[in-house]
């Protein structure tokens, strides 16, 4: 029931929002609706127990002749991602309402529509359903970027759309092929997809088709070039949603579909993918060092971070996967935090060019403190959320291969280099002309950041709750691999 409510409720909110036309009410409804949605999911958490795996099931019947069943459910991992979504969306909306966007009803409606699609993706227990929600998430994202984006938005957004859409089409082909390999009666149901009998050659093709879709979305090097442009051009709220939540769909896909469906290929090709991911981590980190724009810098840092998460998936060790789950949450929190800070800078100074900033800490100490906390989280300082994830993932990689772990570890040095450089050049030094009249955060602006800060430390100091929640789901996934 809860799962159904979680999908229907944002849809209702979206429809209401589309109909409204007073800005004030639109904003109130958007905030109230997203907060309610969070409360519903929190109630779901309350109902959830870690004793059995998949829970909060919802079965709405199936279209027999199409083989599609309307089956939803949540296990530990998907519940955490649902919670991440419902937790971040209200905060993102709270940040966004401080902008004055034209046509707000469409904007907030689309955001709520996206939320619905995310929940659908994370809770679908049917391959076709997953695919439908997956594509459904892309459409609002496209419109948000294309309508409210910055310079050159049409070209960049179109590229983003075509790029990710092409990837998804491969997934669709793979899915249909898989359908005909499922035991009779053919079905897209997750259970029958995972019990499809495939030769190793078939597994390889299926793997490629799915992986392409996921790798573009995540993005894994060298399929990442849409990402920095899109993050830079999208409106800040859109960037936060893309970076904080949407890319988790790709990682979730790896875990939910690829791991159980093609375990053999995952193992055989894992090495290559990990190498690719690690190359991407180092490559993106090095690029980030010299970036001139705050958004672009954080975008590259994000590529490095999600590269690490992807590498963690392919280690297929228990420790690595635990790290992946924690890091998915942590990355969502830290990256949204960083983009919120950047948004606050942009709204005041109308620029995110690093060389034009400086001395902000003196003028806006609260902003600087929040910035520092999110920065520490993303450079994985112990006692922050980033450390737990990176520590476990690196340990997982180390168990997989010592040398790869040693190379991957360089990221902890490089992340300090680019993050501290960014912080120093924007926050420290004497205030420049542009920043000399800068105002500090207001309470309303700090409001959405405070829960994020709490999460940074909560996960960093007491990660047990989250680890515990995901444990049975991870065990089940590894069962497919190691038997």
């Amino acid at each position: 029931m809860i799962t159904g409510l979680l999908i229907i409720f944002p849809l209702i909110c979206a429809l209401i929002l589309f109909l409204l036309n007073t800005e004030k009410w639109i904003k109130i409804i958007a905030v109230a609706g997203s907060v309610t949605q969070f409360l519903i999911s929190a109630y779901g958490l309350f109902l959830f127990t870690t004793k059995c795996n998949c829970q909060l099931l919802l079965y709405l019947g199936s279209a027999e002749n199409l083989g599609i069943s309307l089956r939803f459910g949540l296990d530990g991992i998907s519940l955490l991602l649902v919670l991440l979504t419902t937790f971040l969306i209200p905060l993102i909306i709270l940040t966004t309402i401080q902008h004055r966007y034209r046509n707000p009803s469409a904007l907030y409606g689309l955001i709520m529509l996206m939320e619905m699609a995310f929940i659908g993706v994370f809770s679908a227990y049917d391959g076709m359903l997953f695919y439908i929600f997956w594509e459904l998430a892309l459409i609002p994202a496209y419109f948000i970027c294309a309508i409210w984006g910055g310079n050159d938005r049409i070209r960049i957004t179109l590229k983003f759309f075509i790029y990710t859409f092409t990837g998804s089409l491969f997934m669709l082909v793979g899915l249909i092929y898989l359908f005909f390999r499922t035991p009779l009666p053919h079905s897209f149901d997750l259970h029958s997809l995972t019990s499809a009998i495939l030769s190793s050659k078939e597994q390889a093709w299926i793997f490629l088709a799915f992986f392409l879709a996921f790798a573009i979305k995540i993005p894994i090097f060298p399929l990442h070039t849409w990402q920095p442009d899109t993050y830079t051009v999208a409106p800040s709220g859109g960037t936060m949603i893309l970076a904080g939540i949407m890319l988790k769909m790709g990682i979730y896909g790896l875990l939910r579909f690829l791991l159980p469906i093609c375990p053999i290929v995952m193992q055989n090709w894992g090495f290559i993918i990990i190498i690719l991911a690690v190359v991407g981590i180092i490559y993106a980190s090095i690029i980030a060092i010299r970036q001139k724009d705050l958004k672009r810098l954080v975008a590259y840092s994000s590529i490095a971070h999600v590269g690490l998460i992807s590498a963690g998936v392919f280690t297929m060790t228990e420790i690595g996967l635990n790290g992946v789950v924690i890091q998915m949450i942590s990355h969502g929190i830290n990256i949204v935090g960083l983009f919120m800070i950047i948004d606050r800078i942009e709204i005041r100074l109308k620029t995110t060019e690093i060389s034009r900033l400086g001395g902000i800490a003196l003028k806006a100490p609260f902003l600087a403190v929040f910035f520092m906390i999110f920065l520490l989280g993303s450079i994985a300082l112990p006692m922050t959320n980033g450390f737990i994830g990176e520590f476990l993932i690196l340990l997982g990689i180390f168990e997989y291969n010592h040398w790869i772990a040693a190379v991957t570890g360089i990221t902890i040095i490089l992340s300090a280099v680019y993050m501290l450089r960014m912080y120093q050049q924007t926050m420290f030094g004497e205030p420049v002309e542009l920043t000399s009249n800068m105002k500090d955060l207001t309470w309303l602006e700090a409001l959405p950041m405070i829960p994020l800060v709490i999460m940074v430390f909560w996960i960093g100091i007491f990660p047990g709750f989250y680890l515990h929640l995901a444990e049975p789901a991870i065990k089940e996934m590894l069962y497919f691999v190691h038997g």
Partner: protein
């Protein structure tokens, strides 16, 4: 007991939160008192802990909560107490408190006082966590935590980008070491299935000495120690770190944080004695660093930089002691060094304060008259570090020297050279600062005032400790029992038993002779130094004098910073540009766009097929059918 230990940690943390969160509500004066007060309480509790645990045998584990727990890996937030921890607790909170009190005076006029005390308390918290940890992971929390505080405090005056660069450099160099530490931890985990000290040390005893895995582990951990304790090759951040306020240099970059590496190796002594090759590496790193930094210090002119190089050099001694298996000796020197080096830094701070920020010793001189109290305490510190009996530095250095002698004569000889260097550069500085005539402007001279009581009082206490600290561990020939050795010995008993060649210590007469020889040399050096800098002061670095190549090399610190710049920093920056401009934009993205364009072009060509003439379509259809027929015929 658990509760008390938790309190020791919690007070500085609470102090940090109070002065940090209430940074606009609480007046600075009160923050200063709160911050110092919390450290004082922690100190008193540490004293209590030390007394209370004195009679317990073996380390005690106190469970606080579970940090990370997955099926195969459990990291508990546990605290460990044994004599080694207690010594560190006393140093950190004791010296920490003294320096906090000093800071009240030193930072009085600074606007960012609250921020300063918040960071200082956070530092003490992290450092305490580092030494109280019961496993490597918790230790790593403190390990990185002190690095962060060091970063924040070096760049405390963040308006100046030189300071910020120094801070950033410190953090990044520490992170290089931390990567080693992290990988070392991973190795430990895959080897022993745990990160708990007691479990690992227990299991390690069964591993044959000199096995590859232990050498790998110890070398990786050593990399961490080298970064934190500013040893070659990761030392260049420490001289730059002097950008921070002077109390910070005294507490973090002399007395406590930089000794974390020494503590870590001492804590892991069992692993190290089982890896003799690593021990050799430590000896050489330590000795080489001690000499290198000593030589560089001779030609420095910034009062704090001289002390920084001196710290690097003294840490080198501690590492050499560790490498020789003289763990107690290393800890002893760590303790006395905390006293006299903190004292020297505070003295330097007092001088800098009096001269309104002047740090160049060429512009000082004759300050004995103006700053008599600072002069006396500074003199005590200098004598102590130079190693003249009965000051503390003599005894701790003596212990290391005799351990070196027990290993080989050559090692001892080099170590003595280091001692000679130390006394030379220290007395050079002392004379240039305090004797002769004042070389600054008259205007400045008139403004010189002795520092306030809040600053002098801590210096007096430290001066006393620098003088009498040696009593903790007197050598055998004095006939008085050595407290520190007997207190710490249980901690290192296992390692000593495992050590293959236990250091062959010289007999009492030899030791006395050696000490006599060293002392005589030191005295001669002091006289030379006096003749050079006492009255007719020769100032190095005068641009008029043509400098020889070697001297230029030394004055410029062997161009190591420049070397790193060329070898590491520049290439990375260059690579960043190349990756972005060429690989990213011109290669990868172009291919991706190329694929897109290809689709458009193919579409453009295929477009012409759609002519709209039914006749054409029929024609193509017939062609197709014929094609299929031919294909089928061929198959038959």
């Amino acid at each position: 007991m658990t509760f008390i230990l938790a309190l020791i940690l919690c007070f500085p943390l609470a102090g940090f939160l109070l002065s940090g969160l209430g940074f606009k509500l609480i007046p600075p004066r009160i923050t200063a008192i709160i911050a110092s007060g919390t450290i004082l309480i922690s100190f008193l509790l540490s004293v209590f802990t030390t007394i209370f645990t004195q009679h317990l045998t073996g380390p005690q584990i106190h469970h606080l909560f579970t940090w990370i727990s997955i099926n195969r890996i459990t990291l508990n937030f546990d605290l460990l107490v044994d004599p080694l921890t207690c010594i560190m607790l006393l140093i950190i909170t004791g010296v920490g408190f003294i320096i906090h009190v000093y800071s009240i005076g030193y930072m009085k006029e600074d606007k960012g006082q609250n921020r300063f005390f918040a960071y200082m308390n956070l530092f003490v918290f992290s450092m305490l966590l580092l030494v109280m940890a019961s496993n490597y992971a918790i230790m790593f929390i403190g390990w990185e935590g002190v690095g962060l505080c060091s970063y924040l405090l070096i760049g405390f005056w963040y308006k100046d980008h030189n300071f910020n660069n120094a801070a950033k450099k410190a953090f990044i160099m520490n992170r290089i070491g931390d990567l080693g530490f992290l990988l070392g931890m991973f190795f430990l985990f895959t080897t022993f299935g745990s990160l708990d000290f007691l479990k690992i040390f227990h299991l390690a005893k069964n591993i044959p000495a000199g096995s590859g895995i232990l050498i790998a582990i110890t070398l990786l951990l050593l990399l961490g120690a080298v970064g934190k304790s500013a040893q070659i090759p990761l030392y260049t951040w420490l001289p730059d770190a002097m950008a921070g306020p002077t109390p910070v240099s005294a507490l973090i970059h002399a007395a406590t944080m930089v000794t974390a590496g020494v503590y870590m190796v001492a804590r892991s002594s069992i692993l190290y004695v089982l890896a003799p090759s690593t021990m050799m590496v430590i000896i050489f790193v330590g000795l080489f660093t001690a000499l290198f930094a000593g030589i560089v210090a001779i030609f420095q002119n910034d009062i704090k930089k001289i002390l920084a190089y001196s710290t690097i050099s003294q840490l080198g001694y501690m590492f050499m002691a560790l490498g020789l298996g003289a763990f107690t000796g290393a800890m002893f020197h760590l303790t006395t060094h905390a006293f006299f080096k903190a004292l020297l830094f505070l003295g330097a701070g007092s001088v800098i304060h009096a001269l309104k920020g002047e740090q160049d010793i060429r512009k000082m001189g004759g300050l004995r008259k103006y700053l008599p109290k600072t002069w006396w305490t500074f003199l005590i510190g200098t004598i102590s570090i130079a190693g003249i009996p009965p000051f503390a530095g003599f005894f701790s250095k003596d212990e290391i020297l005799s351990a070196a002698f027990g290993n080989s004569l050559i090692l001892w000889a080099f170590a003595v050279v280091g001692v000679v260097l130390t006394s030379f550069y220290m007395f050079r500085m002392l004379f240039l600062v305090f004797s002769g005539a004042f070389r600054g402007s008259d205007e400045k001279r008139e403004q010189i005032n002795e520092s306030s009581v809040a600053m002098i009082f801590p210096m007096v206490i430290l001066a006393f400790l620098s003088f009498a600290g040696g009593l903790m561990d007197l050598p055998e020939y004095t006939g008085i029992s050595s407290w520190l050795s007997s207190y710490l010995n249980p901690v290192f008993a296992d390692s000593m038993a495992l050590m293959q060649s236990s250091p062959h210590l010289p007999d009492q007469l030899t030791e006395l002779l050696l000490a006599g020889f060293t002392m005589t040399t030191v005295l001669i050096v002091i006289l030379i130094s006096y003749s050079m800098f006492g009255k007719n002061q020769i100032l190095s670095g005068d641009k008029k004098v043509e400098q020889s190549f070697i001297k230029r090399l030394v004055v410029n610190k062997f161009f190591i910073d420049e070397l790193y710049e060329i070898l590491v920093v520049k290439p990375t920056m260059y690579l960043s540009d190349v990756f972005y401009r060429w690989v990213e934009v011109r290669f990868i993205d172009r291919i991706i766009n190329g694929i897109g364009n290809l689709a458009i072009r193919v579409g453009n060509i295929l477009r012409f097929l759609q002519t709209g003439h039914v006749g054409f379509y029929l024609f193509v259809m017939v062609l197709g059918i014929i094609g299929i027929l031919i294909f089928n015929i061929m198959l038959i």
